[in-house]
Every structure is written in C-alpha cells, then in structure tokens.
C-alpha cells in the first residue's frame, strides 16, 4: 500500500512536470502578452520594454530553463499584470474555490445519493419521475440563466439574499445553489442507474430475508456496491469545480480560481496560468488518488 502510494506520487510528479512543460510551451505559442497588457496605441518601444521586463525576449528554451530553475527554488514567478508573485495570487483564489467546491460537493453527495437511491428504490413512481425530470432540467439549463434568475427572484423581488459578493453566510447560498444543480442532476442519474442494477442483486434478497429495513438495504447494502461509478463521476464534477466555476464566480463576484484562470489565459499571463494549473492539478491529482484508494476500501474484491 505504502509502496503503491509512493509509486503513484512519483508518476504523478512526472505527469505534473509534463503538464508544466506542455503548458509552458503551448501557451507561449498563443500570442504576445505585451499586446494585451499595453493599450493599442502603445509604441513598439513600450512593447519591447514590457517584454524585456518579463524576460519574454529570450529564446523560449532559455525562458524555460529560467522558469524551471526558479521553480526548483519554489519561485513561481511574478504575474505579468499584477506585480505580485503568481503563486500568492493563485493560492488566495484557490482558497475560495476550494471552499466553494467542498461545500457544493458535500451537499451534492448527500442530496444526490439520497434522492437517487430513493428514486431507484421506487423506480417508476411519481417521486422517481419527478426527481429525474426536475434534476435533468436543472442540469441541462444554462447556468447563467439560473444564476441571474435567482438574483432577480431572491434579491430583487423578494429581497431575501444579497445579490452577490462575499462576506456573510448569506452570500454563499446562491453561488452554492447554482453550482449544486448540474452535478446534482448528473450524479443523481448515475446513482439511480447504479442502484437500479444493484437492487436486483441476490444479496438484497438475503437482506430482506434477514428482516433488514428498507432504509438500510438501500443505504447500507446496495449503495456501497453501486458507489464506484458514483464517486468517480463525483470526482469529475469536483475537478470541474476545482478548475473554477467561471460563470458563478463572475456573476456572483466570487474571487475564485476560475475567473482568475480565464483572465490569465485571455491575457496570456503565463506565470499565473502555470501556477494556477499546478495548484489545481495538484488538488486534482490528490483527489484522484483518494478516489482510487477508496475503490479498494469500498470493494474488497478490488484489493490486490
């Protein structure tokens, strides 16, 4: 087990490195940040100066060497636009994103598993149909619709919640709710399908013969058997949130990593892009590791 994790850490490190190299070179093929940072009527001299200031005039291999040397010392470079260390910027934003992702995914996990399981258990019932349809509508509706309608309804009309921003717990409600919808719909469907298969298994009969309550048949016996795809898809959705929930962040003014990343990409702020990718990649790698480990925890047959 220890050895396995060690090996995993090593391969992950290699892939992270590969990712950095890939992003480093590819992103530099996508245009000149000077053109984007400086106003259109800036002179060629200003542009040169800007490039020189950020070492963009060196041959790309030299730039890469410098970057890696700095990286080895734990220096992720400065943002081209913000006059701040890229890592600081990213970490500040990542804290928000992480919180948002964690809160959302925990709610999604609880709600989707609960509703999905019950829907599978009562397959074909009104509850099943209703839960499925509603969640599907939610999951396929454009997220900005939902976000703006929520603001119009809950802030403008009813005045219950602040429109946007951070600060109080009330500020979290709408962003989390909007982020909740898509993963909820998707995971609910996956849970439902997975449980539907599991509920036909003979061990369910055994449990019934033992007099086990329906509740525990659903949530103890079958759930764990149907969990593998569910946590995998949850991981995917969580990764999407970790990569940043751009729409929600920009509509609700959440200072997360999604908006940061988009801006950095659109502005070719290379160091921020790289730092952001490394931080989120690390989080995603760790999450995938945990998910892979949990397979074996959930299903002893997979332990080898």
């Amino acid at each position: 087990m220890k050895q396995q994790i060690g090996q995993r850490a090593l391969t992950s490190l290699i892939s992270l490195l590969g990712l950095v190299v890939l992003v480093f070179f590819l992103s530099r093929l996508t245009g000149d940040p000077a053109a984007l940072f400086l106003p259109v009527d800036a002179s060629e001299e200003m542009r040169q100066n800007f490039r020189a200031l950020h070492g963009l005039n060196d041959p790309i291999v030299v730039q890469f060497g410098n970057y890696m040397a700095d990286l080895a010392r734990g220096d992720f470079g400065e943002s081209l636009r913000r006059a701040r260390p890229a890592l600081d910027i990213v970490l500040e934003a990542f804290v928000w994103t992480l919180q948002l992702a964690l809160i959302t995914m925990s709610l999604v996990a609880v709600a989707a598993i609960f509703v999905g399981s019950v829907a599978a258990f009562t397959v074909g019932s009104k509850f099943d149909r209703f839960a499925s349809l509603l969640s599907l509508v939610g999951a396929s509706a454009p997220d900005f619709w939902v976000a703006i309608l929520a603001i119009v309804l809950f802030s403008l009309q009813l005045g219950w919640l602040p429109t946007s921003g951070t600060g109080t717990i009330w500020h979290w409600i709408m962003p989390v709710a909007v982020l909740f919808i898509r993963p909820f719909g998707l995971i609910l469907q996956v849970v439902r399908g997975s449980m539907l298969s599991a509920l036909g298994s003979p061990y369910v009969k055994t449990a019934r013969a033992k007099g086990v309550k329906s509740k525990s048949i659903i949530f103890v016996h079958t759930l764990r058997n149907g969990m593998l795809p569910v946590i995998t898809v949850m991981g995917d959705q969580a990764a999407a949130l970790l990569n940043g929930a751009v729409v929600v962040e920009s509509i609700f003014g959440f200072p997360g990593v999604g908006k940061l990343m988009i801006d950095a990409i659109l502005q070719r702020d290379f160091n921020v892009i790289l730092a952001a990718i490394m931080v989120t990649a690390l989080a995603i790698f760790i999450m995938n590791l945990l998910i892979d480990l949990s397979y074996a925890l959930l299903d002893p047959r997979i332990r080898k």
């Binding site: 245009g31 106003p39 002179s43 003014g253």
Partner: protein
C-alpha cells in the same frame, strides 16, 4: 458611517498603481481620489484645463512651460509635495522597470523636467508642446520615494487614501483629514467588482451599491436612477487603403453609403448614440460641426460600385468584417447587421468575430496578410484634444492607420505643434479632409454609457465617468 458609498466596477483591478490611471477602472479608483494631477480637465463646465496641484502655469519660451505648484500639500504618508515629486513621477513613467501606461502620451516628445525650486517646475520639450497643461491632466503624482517598480500601495495627495485591498473582493478608500482642499461629503468608498452588467444594476437597486458606472443599456430602464452619458468611445470600421478593393475612393464611399446608421439607434444601440463623423467625440477640440453623416443609400452604393468596377476595380473581392467579440454591448449583432447591409449593397463581405488577442493582431501593424478586411474597433478619447488619436489612426506611420496621404501627415504634424485657434482650425480641417475627401474609414457611432446611481446620493455621470470617478463630486441627499 452614513457617508460611505459603494461603487461597483465592471472588472477587478489588476493594479492600483497611479501611473496606470489611464485605464478606465483603475482611473475610476485612483484619479483625483488617491492621486492627483497638476491640472484637470473641466468636463462639467467649459472651463478647459483647470488647476489642481499646480496653481498656475505659463509658457516661458516656445519650448518651456513653467508650473507654479500648490503650497502646503502633503501626501497621505505625511511627506510634503514639491516639484521634485513631479519630476520623479514623470521619470517613473519613463522607467524600464515598469510598464506604465501613461508614458504613451509623452511618446516622441523629448521632455526635460526641472525643479526650479520646491514649488516651481519647468518643463522643456522638444518639439514644442502647446498642450502641455492638457498633458499634465494625465500625470499622476507620486512621492519621490516611490520605487520604479509597480507599487501595490499607492500614495498620493488626493482627498482619499487606500486603506484596504481585499484582492478579488473589494478596495476601500477613506477620506483624509489632512487633505489640502475642501473636505468632501463621502467619508469612505468601497469598490467592488462584478462582471455581469445586470448584477451591477441589481446591486444599486437593492442598495448594496450606490453607483454602478457602467450598466447595460437594456438594464437602464428606471429614469430616476439611470443616467446615460457619452462615454467618449467611437466605433468605426478601419479601412486599410493599401488593400484592394479599398484603394478606390468610390468603394470607400459605397461602404459608407451602404450602412443604415439610423436603424441601429434605439435598436441594437441605445438611444443617445450619435452617428459619427470623426473618430473623436464632439467635445473634442477642433470638432467640425459642418460635417454630416453619409446618408443611407444602397442604390447609390451599388451605382458607385458599378462605376468602380467599370474602371477595373476588383469590387467583387471577398473581404472580412472583423469584429471583436464582446467589444461593447450588442457588438456581434451590430457587425452581423452591418455585414448583411454590405452584402445587400453588393459587397462580398463575410463576418469574422474574433477574440481580444486576435483582434489586436488585425488592428495594429503589421496587418494580417491574406483576405482583405475591414476591422471594427472602438476608440476612446475623452482627453479633449485630437492629438491623442489622430497620429495613431491616420498618420501614414500610425499603428492603426489605414491612410497613406501626405496632406494628412502634414496636417497632423502642424496641428500637433500649433496652439490656440490655429490648432483648432487645423484639426477641423483635418476632420473635413478625412471625412469628405479621403473617406478614410466607415465611421459608425459615438457611443453612450449608462450608469445607475442610487437615489440616496447625488452624482451625475459625465464624459469623464469612463475614466475617472471623483468621490468629491458625490453629494449625499
């Protein structure tokens, strides 16, 4: 407490460095709030250039301006303001250690700043700069201790000082007690950032914010709170006369005639937008009131094209109309409609919407080879003088120019060096030449912006609101 306001801006500030104050959102926070300039342009009246940190100025000789500075001014860090600070502030904009934007306004000018004494400053320039006081409306003053690198802790002489910067969330300015001028009503201002226009509007409506300097026209439905203001932006299609078939003036005329400008106003563009006859707004020096927009005349356009075709101009050449996605509200629709109108008039036009970085490649030299194109762009000049626009847009060597005409080059050079009425006349002449004779571009509209201001405060947006927002101009009701 009651005298605090919240202002919701459209995007987060990367920097709050005073030397970046020409960027609109940075300017709204910094300009004349944190950092002041020597002079200030009067946008509410027609006072022209007014004193701010300089009390008066005079032309010493043709190439030298002398500014008499205000006494008793201190920076928010307690140090006193003197001529040395101005010199440093200028040098800072020229430094290699940063990429200050302000410097572009001093480009091509050899400027020598000397502190004659603590409160007297001489500026020698080559060539002569008749509009030096105007140029000084752009130079934000920082204390001479400020390092050359970008700072994240701006110090200025303004009525407010930065007290809090929650990156990504808010910026807070608080009123200084030791400000040299009149104390303003607002004791503190918080700036927050929302990129969604409807959210900005909603925030003022719910009372979460007091001013939203830019909301979308579609949201601006409440006359009690929503103001339109000319935002000093002008949209136009730049024509590169080097590429066929645009070298022929008839083709350029036909382009102008093919577009029904009136149809856009009140539909895709808000009421209040004005069909443009120059690339700068009407409040600019030398504005030529005699120019009139080209009338919509698709038949005439077609006739002109036929005529040109008969002369062997390749009017059937396919060209692109390049627009920038999200450039202004309704940009895509506008360009879509324009393309349709051009096609209607017999052009072989194709729409191509591109992203910022790509747009920049099309817009600035060296231009993209291959298919000829018209590029849709928006130009901002709220500074009151065409000099900030004309060289770039129309001089043969201008970065975004598609005009190659000696008369134009000469006029630009003359006007830049001229003062007073002569300057005004020369600009006026240039506008006429470009518009009527050369038909340099397809000018579209002077745009308007919309601001929502809470009823609990009094503030009227002006043409300057696009680039600055003085807290001292806000009154409390």
């Amino acid at each position: 407490q009651d005298s605090e306001v919240t202002i919701v801006l459209s995007e987060e500030l990367d920097l709050i460095d005073p030397c970046m104050a020409t960027r609109s959102n940075i300017g709204r926070v910094v300009l004349q709030n944190i950092s002041e300039t020597l002079t200030e342009l009067d946008v509410r009246g027609d006072g022209g250039v007014m004193p701010r940190l300089a009390e008066s100025w005079e032309l010493v000789d043709e190439n030298t301006w002398r500014f008499m500075l205000r006494d008793g001014v201190t920076f928010s860090d307690g140090t006193a303001f003197d001529a040395g600070d101005v010199v440093h502030s200028f040098e800072r904009t020229q430094s290699d250690a940063n990429s200050c934007e302000i410097s572009r306004y001093y480009e091509g000018i050899d400027m020598q700043l000397t502190a004659v004494d603590d409160l007297t400053l001489d500026i020698r320039t080559d060539p002569a700069q008749p509009i030096m006081p105007l140029l000084m409306t752009l130079l934000t003053i920082v204390p001479s201790e400020t390092s050359m690198e970008f700072t994240r802790d701006p110090i200025g002489t303004g009525p407010y000082q930065l007290t809090e910067w929650n990156v990504g969330q808010s910026i807070r300015l608080e009123r200084r007690d030791d400000y040299w001028g009149e104390a303003s009503d607002v004791s503190a201002a918080t700036y927050v950032f929302r990129s969604e226009p409807s959210v900005r509007a909603a925030m003022v409506q719910t009372g979460e914010a007091h001013i939203a300097p830019s909301i979308s026209a579609l949201e601006a439905t409440n006359p009690a709170t929503d103001f339109s203001y000319p935002n000093s932006e002008t949209t136009y299609l730049r024509i590169d006369q080097m590429t066929a078939p645009f070298g022929d003036v008839r083709v350029r005329q036909a382009l102008n005639m093919a577009i029904d400008r009136e149809a856009f106003i009140g539909t895709i563009l808000p009421d209040g937008s004005i069909p443009a006859v120059a690339v700068v707004p009407p409040t600019t020096l030398g504005w030529n009131g005699d120019l009139t927009t080209v009338d919509y005349d698709p038949e005439g356009a077609r006739a002109l094209l036929a005529e040109a075709k008969a002369d062997g101009v390749a009017v059937d050449t396919e060209f692109m109309v390049v627009g920038r996605i999200g450039n202004f509200p309704g940009a895509t629709e506008l360009y879509e409609a324009i393309t349709a109108m051009l096609t209607e008039a017999g052009f072989n036009a194709k729409l191509q919407m591109v992203e910022v970085a790509e747009h920049e490649q099309f817009y600035s030299r060296p231009y993209v080879e291959g298919t000829p194109y018209l590029i849709g762009a928006q130009h901002d000049n709220s500074r009151g003088d065409p000099v900030f626009s004309m060289y770039f847009k129309y001089h043969s060597e201008g970065r975004q120019s598609g005009v190659y005409d000696e008369r134009v080059d000469a006029l630009i050079d003359q006007a830049t060096a001229a003062t007073g009425d002569e300057r005004e006349a020369l600009w006026s002449e240039l506008f006429a030449l470009l518009h009527d004779e050369i038909v340099s571009d397809v000018l579209l509209f002077h745009m308007v912006g919309f601001a929502r201001v809470s009823e609990s405060i009094s503030f009227t947006p002006t043409i300057a609101t696009n680039s600055s927002l003085q807290l001292s101009e806000i009154g409390l009701e």
